[in-house]
């Protein structure tokens, strides 16, 4: 999971939220992607995502004004930048997939029961990994795959990434989750 994906994701998010008068740039000195909007500069993917959702016309992706919801969104955005984006090897990736799969066992979306910016940001962060998985591996992380397949269709993300294929039937016997 490589660093320059962050630049792509920021640009994609800005397009997705359709925020006018904003520009994305990569600040070489600090090594951080920045969003500039009406003179204000926001640094870092998680903050930019929060900023975009606050200022866009899609408040539903905000998750609502409940404190717990806000905290959960912050938490998952942080998870993206500190854990997902920093996997150095296969083992790290597998740990992430297992954790998220486990979390989503009883949930449709990451926060509340509708799509929020946390789902979007994690989708972007996981795309590259999912693109590499075989259908059998996807079945191993059943809940995470269900979530991924749902988000990629519901959030209308075809403009950003191709729709990945998922099998709708169990094909592999004895697939345990661990």
């Amino acid at each position: 999971m490589a660093p320059n994906r962050i630049d792509n994701d920021v640009k994609a998010l800005a397009r997705y939220f359709n925020l006018k008068n904003c520009k994305c740039k990569f600040d070489k000195k600090s090594g951080v992607t920045q969003l500039v909007h009406n003179g204000q500069t926001v640094c870092g993917l998680a903050s930019i995502a929060s900023f975009l959702v606050q200022n866009s016309e899609q408040p539903s992706l905000h998750g609502g004004s409940c404190h717990m919801t806000k905290a959960q969104i912050q938490q998952w955005l942080q998870y993206r930048v500190t854990i997902v984006d920093r996997c150095l090897n296969e083992k790290d990736v597998t740990t992430v997939l297992k954790e998220l799969n486990s979390f989503l066992e009883s949930r449709v979306y990451f926060v509340t029961s509708s799509l929020t910016v946390a789902d979007l940001v994690l989708y972007f962060g996981l795309f590259a990994t999912f693109n590499q998985l075989t259908l059998q591996e996807k079945e191993k992380y059943l809940h995470l795959s269900r979530w991924f397949n749902n988000v990629q269709r519901v959030a209308k993300l075809e403009e950003f990434y191709p729709i990945l294929p998922f099998s709708l039937n169990y094909l592999y016997e004895g697939v345990s989750e661990h």
Partner: protein, 828 residues
Amino acid sequence: MKLFTDKGNQHSLKILVAAELAGISLEIEHVDSAAIVVPFLKRNVLPVLEVETNEYLFSANAITRYILATVGKDSEDITVSTWLEWESTDLQAALSSYLPVLYGGGKADSQKLQPHLSKLDNSLGGAQFIVQDQLSAADVCLFAALYPLYANSKSCFENFSNLNAWFTKLHAEPPFGASVAKVTEGKGSSSLKASILAQPLVNTLPVARSVSNEKGKSSKDKENSTTEEVVAKEFSLEEVRAAKETFLTGKKVAPKPVQRNHPLLPRKDAKNVLITSALPYVNNIPHLGNIVGCVLSADVFSRFCRIRNYNVLYICGTDEYGTATETKALEEGLTPQQICDKYFKLHDHVYRWFNIDCDHFGRTTTPQQTKIAQDIFWGLHKEKHLLEQKVEQLKCEDCDRFLADRFVEGTCPLCNYDDARGDQCDKCGKLINATDLKNPRCKICNRTPVVKSSDHLFLDLPRLESRLQSFLDKSTTEGDWTSNAKMITSSWIRDGLKPRCITRDLKWGTPVPLEPYTDKVFYVWFDAPIGYPSITANYTPDWEKWWKNPDEVQLYQFMAKDNVPFHSVVFPCSLLGCGEKWTLVNHLIATEYLNYEDSKFSKSRGVGVFGNHAEQTGIPADIWRFYLLFIRPESQDSYFNWDDFVLKNNSELLNNLGNFINRGLMFLEKNFGGLVQELKLEQLDCQLLAAVSQELKQYVSLLEKVRIKEALRHVLNISRLGNQHIQVTQPWVLVKGSPEEKSRAGTVTSLCVNISCLLSVMLHPYMPDTSKTIQEQLNASADVNVLTGDFVCYLEPGHKIGTPKPLFAKIEQAQADQLRNQYAGKND
């Protein structure tokens, strides 16, 4: 609300301060630093706040803001977010490696923290708070993050006056002071040590950061961005040195490819590899599953063995005797021989189209088959391994024939499956006798057949069991048998070997030479594997040098899992018992099943891609080979999926592999007149050489063990590494610069062109046409087609390449949709 934390965990300080500021009392539970509190997290992450039963927050920063928010004290200012994000990414990454050294008593390099402290210091100016002159979560979290530094040495911020002032002022505030006391329990910095040393290291980002999108890419760059970057691993100096040395000097000592002169016979000075693929039954039009499991897998391995300079013979052909052919002949009004001639051509054509390069693709209906089968039979007869028995068989009075197994269907006596065939139940896989079926029916006329008795010959497997077991013990431990092959074989033996009938009342088959059985033929499963040596006998009269030479020949047999018992038990027993020393299978490679989309291949229902359908789609054979091998069903069934097919073509072949090779060649042609430049290798290049060498070695060692699917991944890894190298070095910028920069661009490009040459060889077993095309575009000599496991520079400075052209074409989703519909069969 309950806070779980280990004692002295500095991150919990944030939360305690927030609680104090909010006037909320928190229940605190102390746990071990390795405890996993949150059920779904696979690592230990402390502190954790249980907000309500089973509702957790595991991000300390998020918890801090949450607590402040509950009393309206969390700021909406986005700057708070950016500071917390910086804290959790940059600052913690630096502290995570610094603090354990500091607290562990080592010599910590405080220079590492300078930029971070400096940034804070500058940002503060003289302000009392970080954001908008008001206490916020930013102050709380940054204070807590830095606290361990202060606890260790109160003068740690002495070079940063603003920071120092900010910190000490906060520290003096009651909420902060009280929280510090709670965390340290009044014991100062030593209380933090245990937790700090137990906390897992935070991963940091790799230093080499590639620049985002190249110029000129449109916003529809999504497909290019799916090219996944492999994070560069650091190789040891020795590995790098060795890779560089081999690369630069290896060409002189590289062996040349061995010429393939027919007829191929075992040689004393070479590794002799005999490869067979299960003989496809002539009447059945092959589908993709049949192809990948048998002929294609064997083809990949045999091509690999050839570029390893082993002495390889790859034998395959059609299995032609048996009732199905007889029946089909009646249906079509032809003789069985004519049917076989007709369908043999079809098989031959399909496999040629798929580039299956057998040394000989033959047939079982030859005089050699009769001779060899009868010789084996006589051998078994002489050694007394045959039994004579009356057999009750099902005879269909209306059709006036004894029904062979495939012409009886009924209910399986063991598992109650309704559609069991006469010799093997499709569902439970157990071998049965047709007479055991419940509710049998003649497949042709659906009448219930009657039981009549007839004399037959049986191979006495139990008598040969101990010899078989010794052979299997040796072969399965010394050779590479796939695990399903071993399991199926051992479960067969565990079930208890019984004598197997080897004769049938049919006309179309190898005649039994013993009176009074001369009106009968050999049962197909006794007869068919004898096809391997007999087809070889049609190739060369010296066939016994391969087949009766176990000391000098290694036999690899490829098949799908349902054929395993016949190759691991019945055939070896026939050979072990006939009194001669035969070459027996050393490595049995069995695949699982390939399914099609969400169901199974079915000729009758028109579901799936059969015979020459693949050719008709216009998609080149190499692309089919690639995808089938990418999804080769090794440890589990897998299935063919059109969407995935398109995706793999477009992402792996087009954007990864094709893109890397093409851009290197185009660049060399455009900027350097197509001439390979001098290679002045720098550190980054040598790291790449080491990485490519490692992938190559893994590829070779995997294919030696016939791990076909895994080895392919390493080919794609190499082109990924190549793409990444180009992204980082940016030769398109360098080439416009100074002469040194231009020369650097020349080195990088020439290195990539050599990697492309290596890739063409590694690709040969999988995609032979593409391999050839790449070598033509490289103008590489045929001598490069040898794999020693070393990455060698074949294209030296001054070598002129050919004409680059794109290797692969994009498959549009629309075409895939249309093809999927075409082969989806009738709706049920």
